[in-house]
């Protein structure tokens, strides 16, 4: 699969930046305010001068007026750690439905990467199924987007979804807290609540991007069919009547509502990304409306 965006779309992405509800400490100077005081441009506060402080930061006007040596403090601007969790399990591309959902997820990830790279953020791509596979860090700067495309194109679906195990694995690596985006269909037999809460408990600003397709939502009245679970291979013979299909659609809506409600309750950003919609529309409209990008 080839991932690529036209130059217009890339131009539009450059004007966007990922909104983080929290300020995180970065590693290098960049454009993001951090909680740290440093050498930024943005005035933050005063404090009493103490021996050894840089004379250049003494506010001499305040000394003349108050007779005290006060030191001007500035906000430090650093990069933002962005972790992109991409669900690469079989459920994202079932044999019978095609790879649209997974490909859409990769495109969204690429778009987010570009936004982050354009603002010198530290983007880490982490495909996962039941564990986090090899994490990939393309570097900084928007020129790295082609490396991102290359990385994403190499990803293949496989394995079963186990977000809890994958995120536990991620947490065990002692990463800095940052903006964490989980792109998945959230069809995890063990549930999505615990893993998302785990990320948040680690101090991450979490966004959940739910991938969905029309086939996921409405199977139609298929009659007698043998459903095969794309991940476990489990087989179930079902006679899909119109009523059963309606019940399934209701169940799917309920599942989505549960995810949305959960995210709202725990201050987790939630965005639904339907496969049928163009990436541009999702990023430029849905992500903005969801205050994910600005």
């Amino acid at each position: 699969m080839a991932i690529g965006f036209d130059s217009d779309f890339l131009k539009k992405l450059e004007y966007l930046h990922v909104v983080s509800k929290k300020a995180f400490a970065g590693q290098a100077r960049a454009e993001r305010l951090t909680p740290k005081r440093g050498r930024g441009l943005e005035f933050a506060d005063y404090r009493q001068y103490s021996a050894g402080d840089d004379f250049r930061h003494i506010d001499w006007k305040a000394y003349r007026r108050l007779g005290r040596l006060l030191l001007r403090l500035f906000d430090e601007e650093q990069d933002l750690p962005i972790y992109l969790f991409i669900d690469a399990s079989h459920s994202m591309a079932p044999a019978g439905q095609g790879p649209e959902k997974f490909e859409q997820a990769l495109r969204l990830a690429a778009a987010l990467c570009y936004i982050g790279l354009a603002h010198l953020d530290r983007v880490t791509i982490m495909p996962f199924d039941s564990t986090v596979r090899e994490e990939r860090t393309p570097g900084q700067g928007k020129g790295r987007i082609f490396r991102v495309f290359e990385m994403l194109e190499q990803l293949q679906v496989g394995g079963t979804t186990d977000m809890a195990e994958a995120f536990k694995n991620f947490a065990g690596r002692g990463r800095r807290a940052g903006l964490t985006v989980v792109i998945s269909d959230f069809l995890d037999p063990k549930g999505f609540e615990k893993p998302l809460k785990m990320l948040q408990a680690r101090g991450h600003d979490v966004y959940a991007v739910q991938m969905a397709s029309e086939k996921d939502r409405d199977p139609g009245a298929l009659g007698d069919v043998r459903f095969v679970d794309a991940e476990s291979g489990e087989i179930r013979d079902v006679e899909v009547t119109p009523a059963l299909a309606r019940a399934y659609t209701a169940a799917w809506e309920k599942h989505t509502d549960e995810l949305q409600t959960f995210c709202g309750r725990y201050n987790i950003g939630y965005i639904r990304a339907d496969v049928e919609r163009p990436v541009e529309e999702i990023v430029l409209q849905t992500f903005r409306q969801g205050r994910f990008v600005a």
């Binding site: 037999p189 007698d224 794309a230 006679e239 009547t241």
Partner: protein, 599 residues
């Protein structure tokens, strides 16, 4: 429950197999298409929570399976014609006697014949006699099978049976019988006294149902002596029904149709019909009658054989044909060859039907029927016996033999008679002194007539008397065209002791049973039969031709017996109800399926 089409165990086995087959078919459904889904998580929830919570969804598949299996079982059950078991509580040995008279072939209003009805009732009796010894007999064949407790054996015996007459046969008897079931239409009254004398409880089960019938009740062929005159067929046709009927009579001679007439028969009317059969043609004559209401088939056809249609071939071995040539030249229907004694060659025999040895005896006995006229026994021909002469014998006694039919001894004056003393010959006419004048020989190997006198003027005046052609033609006919006397009907018939072989039209040989001095042959069905014996062959017809058989509208059974049997059979056949039930089950399954795909 018993079954009309199969033995009980076969029926139950078939039902079991059907249930298994339909169950297998139910579960061996066409494989549903495989659809890969991201996860069964939500389907699992839906199925667990939504559908399987309802009782109907939990039992629907089982209901469908049961219904489909029942549909199959019901259809097979209907085909096997189930009926309520005949409960004949008895214990002990039972004898089932089937009336095998021809009238049992009459068709009933239900489409089955009385015989099929009787067989079905016999099966039911066998099925209900579990553990008891049962024997099966027919009025024609006597004991057929059993006593046995093996229902399969008994029912297999029933399968082999068919109506075959037997109106005159003896009742089958069996010792230690506790109960006798006589399945009959009562058309042929039978004395049951001897059965009741055995102390058995005799139950007469009627299969009678009045049925209209049209029949050929008699068929004879008249063969005139004049070869230019036509042979004629005399038929008697009867309508044994309460309504007048128009019948069609078709008579064929060989493959040529010689008569096709429409006959209006009033109710109960019997008419006689004469059909000209022509002067030439095949010897086989067949008459067939058809009518709209005609229950019995066996009496719709009658056959006859015109013996004169086949020319007799006679070889006369004589030094001087004389009067014999004059006689034979005037006789129609014979092909006569004259040869001198010196030319006679025994190995060359074969073409002729009858040999005539005039004043000469061959050195060895001929294999063909032979007429010896005043045989002159010489030292080389003494195989015939020793001869002695009598001068001016007087014809004194004569038996009623076919050879002498129409011969008036009073007109015969004999100058000299030559008799042969031999145990092989039976005198049928003697002189006053006891010298045999006419002798006959009849055995399985040969047949002969010996005249102790010649036809020369020095021997007798026979050649000038009416007795001459009568005696010679009688002898030739008896030798060359022996017939079985009387009107032959299917069943056991006493036949000529000289017969060695009897064959049916299809080439099958009928067994001949020696019974004392007589021989008995059982003719299984109407038709033409060929008999051989004594070097001769003859064809003869066997017809039902009996008003007693054809009148299937009467019965000797009491109305009470008929009513009881009808009540036992009463109940309408089950199979239409079973088919109806199967149809209802199909609707149920359709509804089940409809619910499955729409709800």
């Amino acid at each position: 429950m018993s079954f009309g089409a199969l033995a009980g165990w076969q029926a139950w086995l078939a039902l079991l197999a059907t249930a298994g087959l339909f169950s297998w078919l139910f579960f061996m459904k066409i494989r549903a298409p495989r659809v890969a889904v991201p996860s069964l998580l939500l389907w699992q929830r839906v199925l667990d929570e939504a559908r399987e919570m309802t009782l109907w969804e939990r039992i629907r598949k089982v209901v469908s399976w049961i219904v489909i299996t029942l549909i199959g079982v019901m259809l097979v059950l209907a085909v096997m014609r189930p009926a309520p078991s005949v409960t004949a509580a008895s214990g002990g040995r039972r004898l089932i006697i089937l009336d095998s008279s021809w009238s049992m072939g009459a068709e009933t209003s239900a489409g089955e014949t009385r015989w099929e009805r009787a067989i079905a009732e016999a099966r039911a009796l066998i099925q209900s006699s579990a553990g008891d010894e049962v024997a099966v007999a027919t009025t024609a064949d006597g004991l057929v099978e059993g006593p046995s407790t093996d229902a399969v054996l008994l029912e297999a015996a029933l399968d082999r049976l068919a109506p075959s007459g037997g109106e005159d046969s003896d009742w089958p008897k069996l010792a230690n019988i506790s109960k006798v079931h006589f399945l009959t239409d009562g058309t042929v009254p039978r004395a049951m006294a001897d059965l009741e004398a055995t102390g058995a409880d005799v139950v007469v089960q009627s299969v009678y149902e009045a049925a209209p019938n049209v029949a050929i009740t008699a068929f004879e062929v008249y063969e005139p002596g004049d070869p230019t005159a036509q042979a004629e067929g005399y038929l008697e046709l009867a309508n044994y029904s309460a309504e007048p009927q128009q019948a069609r009579l078709v008579v064929t001679r060989g493959t040529r149709e010689v008569g096709d007439v429409q006959i209006d028969l009033a109710a109960g009317e019997a008419v006689r019909q004469v059909v000209a059969l022509g002067t030439e043609g095949d010897a086989r004559v067949r008459a067939r009658i058809t009518a709209p209401n005609n229950a019995l088939a066996v009496d719709d056809e009658a056959v006859a054989w015109i013996a004169r249609a086949e020319q007799l071939s006679v070889t006369v071995v004589t030094p001087e044909p004389g009067f014999l040539k004059v006689l034979f030249d005037s006789l129609p229907g014979m092909r006569v060859t004259y040869i001198a004694p010196g030319v006679y060659d025994r190995p060359r025999q074969g073409a002729e039907h009858v040999l005539v040895f005039d004043h000469w005896v061959p050195p060895t006995a001929p294999t063909k029927p032979a007429l010896y006229v005043s045989p002159m026994v010489t030292p080389g021909t003494d195989w015939l016996g020793s001869s002695r002469d009598e001068s001016k014998p007087v014809w004194a006694t004569a038996d009623r033999h076919a050879v002498l039919r129409g011969v008036d001894p009073a007109t015969v004056m004999l100058e000299r008679a030559r008799s042969v003393d031999s145990d092989a010959w039976t005198p049928v006419a003697r002189s006053a002194t006891g010298v045999p004048l006419v002798s006959v020989q009849e055995s399985t190997s040969t047949r002969g007539v010996m005249l102790g006198f010649g036809f020369l003027e020095a021997e007798s005046n026979v050649a000038l008397q009416p007795a001459f052609p009568v005696l010679v033609v009688n002898a030739i006919e008896w030798l060359g065209r022996p017939t079985l006397s009387g009107q032959l009907r299917p069943g056991v018939v006493a036949v000529d002791a000289a017969l060695t072989r009897v064959m049916s039209a299809d080439g099958g040989t009928l067994p001949i049973t020696a019974f004392g001095e007589a021989q008995l042959v059982r003719f299984p069905r109407p038709g033409l039969y060929l008999a051989e014996g004594g070097g001769m062959r003859t064809t003869f017809a066997v017809n039902v031709g009996d008003p007693q058989v054809s009148n299937v509208n009467r019965t000797s059974l009491s109305e009470e017996a008929q009513a009881q049997s009808a009540a036992a059979r009463a109940n309408d056949p089950w199979w239409p109800w079973i088919v109806g039930l199967a149809f209802v089950l199909v609707l149920v399954e359709w509804w089940t399926w409809h619910r499955r795909i729409t709800v």
